[in-house]
Symmetry: C2
Subunit: 271 residues, 2 copies
């Protein structure tokens, strides 16, 4: 157990990397091996849950409880677990063990484990880990970073001031379950140079690394986005709601690598 008064950022970041390593070990045996899938809700869009999802979240919860018992944990599978101090925990770990479950169960290696840490409701660090490709994206206080088969290096968004020059990623049109939202998305994506579907958390990391310019989504939960906010922002991008509010609660989200482009996208999305 660590000193609960003043953990220090480096200790927290180092612990977050440990969580990524441990969750990867819990998940990897199931990738392309498990075919049994539960249906979380019959009334919503199909949202599969695998044994890997639960195993990884349990490993992370156990690790936090052991090392930082005063910290809260909010996860996709098992909800909110307050720290030993109750609801007023200063730090809250926000976990999506497998973001992109449809990628996972179809064998596509573009899902990721999201590990975020909020201090008093503000995201202070994030990790996206992809165990199969061996890729990790994360943030510290100063910047955002990548480690993968081709080495480790800082990442930064690229400039792209106009919609006409922009590439846009989106997980899929079926997530815009409000007709007006789909209309706004279609209007925006009709103006960009290229659109591609099927990214989940990977999309935001490709934006942070300067490979794409816009990510637009709707219907997100807190655990889908919390870890990605500091990665995008430390890389030089913006990640807000469609109306420019903080995106920490999820919902309708737009991320841009360029501030001018962000304004142009929001002008259409916020109509």
């Amino acid at each position: 157990m660590n000193d609960q008064k003043d953990p220090g950022f480096d200790a927290l970041l180092s612990f977050a990397h440990t969580l990524a390593d441990r969750s990867a070990a819990a998940i990897s045996p199931y990738f392309r091996a498990t075919r049994s899938v539960e249906n979380k809700s019959r009334t919503e869009v199909f949202d599969p849950v695998t044994a890997a999802d639960k195993a990884a979240e349990q490993v992370i919860r156990n690790s936090v409880a052991e090392t930082w018992p005063a910290h809260a944990v909010l996860g996709e599978e098992f909800g909110l677990q307050p720290g030993i101090g109750g609801a007023e925990a200063e730090y809250c770990w926000i976990i999506d063990p497998i973001d992109g479950t449809r990628s996972f169960i179809t064998g596509m290696p573009v899902w990721g484990t999201l590990i975020g840490l909020n201090r008093l409701d503000t995201p202070i660090l994030g990790i996206m880990n992809q165990p199969f490709t061996g890729e990790r994206f994360w943030s510290d206080l100063d910047g955002a970073y990548y480690r993968g088969p081709d080495g480790e290096h800082p990442i930064a968004t690229r400039s792209c001031a106009s919609l006409a020059a922009a590439t846009l990623l989106c997980t899929g049109p079926e997530f815009f379950d409000v007709a007006a939202d789909l209309e706004r998305f279609e209007e925006l994506s009709g103006q960009v140079r290229m659109r591609r579907y099927g990214g989940d958390c990977y999309s935001y990391c490709m934006l942070a690394a300067g490979h794409v310019d816009l990510v637009v989504e709707a219907g997100l939960h807190t655990y889908d986005i919390a870890a990605l906010i500091p990665i995008v922002e430390r890389a030089g991008g913006r990640l807000t709601s469609w109306t420019g509010e903080p995106a920490t609660q999820g919902g309708r989200v737009v991320a841009s690598g360029d501030r001018e482009l962000h304004e142009a996208a929001m002008e259409i999305l916020s109509r």
Copy 2:
């Protein structure tokens, strides 16, 4: 130069693996590094071409010309190159250096190099190679195989007799540029358990490896599908046009891991 009379299947397969190795070396320096993109046609759906595409196809063409000068080559970038015997070449290599160019230019590691070999217009072997993840899928006369970070092993499709239990992959709805085709696709995909966009050649390999049940697409070229036909078929699946004809010319394509499911899908798609 090899004996042109009777190459033997093993020599051809071994050469195909060499082509995959050489094209990977040509492509890899450009992945997540190049940002310049040409627009092949302003009137069609945006179809980017990268320097990697051209470099890889040139390496493959040079290799075939050197080793099997009597063989023809059909590639995405540079069209048909007859063998030294003229238009009647017994063997034709069919190449798409980067299938999934939109994945490539957005940094997503789910594109692939397609290398197919037709003998008298019949596909006899295929390779799908993914240099970044280190994955390769291929076929020989008896079966289909996978090599990747987790080892090498034969692959096989899985059984799934009903649409209601099936998972469906498709690169994106925008490729159904005929309204009636989109309607049929929507009708089919409304009946399956799960649909996911954004796969290109990866989708067919995930089907061959038993992770998904259906792939449905339209608007394909010969070089988008030739290499994938023997991989899917040797793995136990079916890959035909929407009306059950050979899919060697591309167009509207449906692949299934299960014969009964293939019939059920075609019943809707061929209406």
